[in-house]
């Protein structure tokens, strides 16, 4: 007797075979080097310069099959894959060391927001160019002086009938200088309570009145910018969701972002055992202080990895992650800081020059527990929403 489960298992086996054949035929050899990290990313957008012809070919072939956004509906440029199919696609790509064809804030952030809150028109208009890597997006949330208080948005959109007139400043807008469009939180009602008078608005970065300035970090050059808005006109059709209810969209994306950051926080790559990395340092790991700290960090890293897996399993079992994402964000980023402190300590004076050392990564990790919600905000979320402690 053939059960339904058998049927679906067979279908997945067929799917895997199909993917294998497709990848074999379509993934250019140059794109099978397993490269990851900043240099290997294809961000897309109108100003994107492909690092090689193969990168362009790979993007186009994936986009044609919907594989840049495999789980999005076909109507919007995706491949409409189920979770299981998506997993198989990723496994098979990993098996041949295939690079990701396209990464972008459009895929990670705006896409999910539009799928949940956008109008049908907005979805049809904005999602396919994201899937094809034609339009590059940046995110405009933070403002100078607001810090963790994201709802304290001051950048103002004045009502002009069919359009808004936008004035103000955003900060920490990653790649604003390279993006085509921005999705931003704007204050559309100054009278309403803090969280209520905010709208989630899409803007063309070429609009008159928008300028950007890159931010230098303690770790060196960064993708972050300051973005200035001076009398920028924006059509009201570019509001996502309900006017003045942009905070709902923002909250949804913040949870989403926390999960991503805690997942992708490992800048040391490839999940190599910390102890093994440290042992390779010139003077090894015989100092009991360093060795003991490395053991502790290794144990915690493994427990963190098991937790990410458990949460993924929970999500597949239909249990939402919800506020527990605050835990992943907090523990993941704090652990990452600890790991880089250990790498620096193990490498000793060899780690102190800027070049060919982990120094810049080490300094960069210090922002992990600030960006996307500080550790303090995460702890307060856990305290209030999970532990139900007062106030």
């Amino acid at each position: 007797m053939t059960t339904a489960t058998d049927d679906s298992q067979n279908a997945l086996t067929d799917f895997r075979a199909e993917i294998r054949i497709w990848l074999e035929a379509n993934c250019p050899p140059e794109m099978r080097d397993g490269a990851a990290g900043e240099a290997a990313i294809c961000w897309g957008g109108t100003s994107w310069e492909f690092t090689c012809e193969a990168q362009k070919t790979w993007l186009q072939r994936c986009a044609a099959r919907g594989f840049t956004v495999p789980t999005w509906p076909k109507a919007y440029g995706g491949a409409g894959l189920s979770r299981d199919e998506d997993k198989i696609l990723k496994q098979e790509m990993q098996a041949i060391g295939a690079r990701s064809p396209l990464d972008s804030f459009g895929i990670w952030m705006l896409g999910p927001a539009l799928l949940k809150f956008g109008s049908e028109e907005q979805k049809q208009h904005f999602l396919p160019p994201i899937a094809r890597g034609e339009i590059r997006w940046c995110q405009g949330y933070s403002e100078p002086g607001a810090g963790s208080d994201l709802a304290g948005v001051q950048t103002h959109a004045a009502d002009q009938g069919d359009t808004w007139l936008v004035n103000g400043q955003k900060i920490w807008t990653s790649y604003a200088d390279k993006a085509d469009w921005i999705f931003a939180l704007l204050r559309t009602d100054r009278e309403a309570k803090k969280h209520l008078g905010i709208s989630f608005v899409l803007m063309d970065m070429r609009s008159k009145g928008i300028t950007t300035r890159p931010i230098q970090l303690i770790s060196g050059a960064s993708p972050f910018c300051e973005t200035f808005f001076e009398d920028v006109e924006v059509p009201k059709t570019q509001v996502v969701g309900t006017i003045n209810r942009g905070w709902d969209v923002a909250k949804y994306l913040l949870t989403h972002e926390r999960e991503m950051i805690s997942n992708g926080g490992n800048v040391m790559g490839a999940g190599r055992p910390l102890g093994a990395v440290l042992s390779e340092s010139e003077t090894g790991l015989s100092d009991p202080i360093l060795r003991g700290d490395a053991m502790r960090a290794e144990i915690d890293t493994l427990a963190m990895e098991m937790t990410l897996e458990r949460y993924k399993d929970q999500a597949e079992g239909g249990q939402g992650l919800g506020d527990a994402s605050a835990m992943l964000k907090y523990m993941g980023t704090e652990l990452n800081k600890r790991r880089l402190e250990l790498v620096m300590a193990a490498e000793g004076s060899a780690a102190l020059p800027w070049e060919d050392t982990p120094a810049s990564s080490w300094l960069r990790t210090k922002a992990n527990s600030i960006e996307g919600g500080t550790s303090e905000v995460m702890l307060s979320i856990i305290s209030r929403r999970i532990l139900n402690l007062p106030g």
């Binding site: 093994a276 490395a294 053991m295 144990i299 458990r310 079992g317």
Partner: protein, 371 residues
Amino acid sequence: MAKLIKTEEEILLSEAANGFLSQSAPVSRLREMRDRGATSDPVLWQEMAAAGWAGVLIPEACEGADMGHAAAHVLAREMGRNLTVSPFLSTAVMAATVLRQLQDEASATKMKAIAAGGLTYALALDETSKFDPESVALTAEKRGNGYVLNGTKRFVVDGGSADRVLVLAQGPEGLCLFDLANGAKGLQRDPLTLIDSRDAADLIFEEVEVAGDALLGGEGAGYDLLRPALEAGQAALAAESTGLAEAAFAMTTDYLKERKQFGITIGSFQALQHRAAHLWCEIELTSSAILNAGRLLDEDPKSATLAVSVAKARATETAQKVVQEGVQMHGGIGMTDEFDMGFYMKRARVAAEWLGDYGYHAGVVAKMRGF
């Protein structure tokens, strides 16, 4: 591998166990035992056996429930919450794991007796004050068809009350595991009065004669036979410690919500909130390690070593952090014997040492991870 979430069965088991233990074996039962100087609770063990827990790892052919390690962890975790005293770990987890590796009739008979609640075991492992199972000085000398044991085992959990004892000895051909009656001639039991009020004893072997069939699995095979049982025990003890941590943490957050100081609920002090939130995160990570160890022991026990040591190390550390913060956040009342937190702290300390402390398991992790 099975997913790192509880199955339907595990959830039901956990609810049933919690219902039973919080009724029949809560902390007050331990307190009552302590106050009258008892260190074990045979009546309770009969009830647990009747519920099928004694046979949790015993095959159905031997009248066990054969529920597996993850299920055993569910039970151990609930026992940890309630500080339930029982020979569950020694007998139902460790001795059972030793015996089920043997395909002979004698072991089947013993397993049946365990599952029925009619036989308990202690494992005589340590010879120094730290867990180091392969360092064995106790000797087994061949004499006639049998052996003669000489030496001392210390900190034998359940060593005062168990019916039988498994002893690792240095035999003529390497480490040998013996299974003998705890009342054997020449075997002196020195019970210890431990801070967690449970049964433990030093066992002194002086010319203890055992028959040839007391040797399990052949000469030199002792540690191979024991090792899976140790890993099973370490993981189950980690689960117990995590249950302990969860209960102590829940007591603490309840107190934070109800206690007032300077006119306001102390749970509204942000410094305490952040510390409590951090503890919650620690417990979450440790819970994942427990689930992971259970899955591996059930599905691929030969590759479970790393997972078990991560679980035991994390659980040890988490439980200690939680009980320390638990006492501190309760203030003076947390220090009184009248209040239960001290019982949690004491058990956490004993569980930290038994079957390998944080440093021991960190050493295993380091070795497995190549440093």
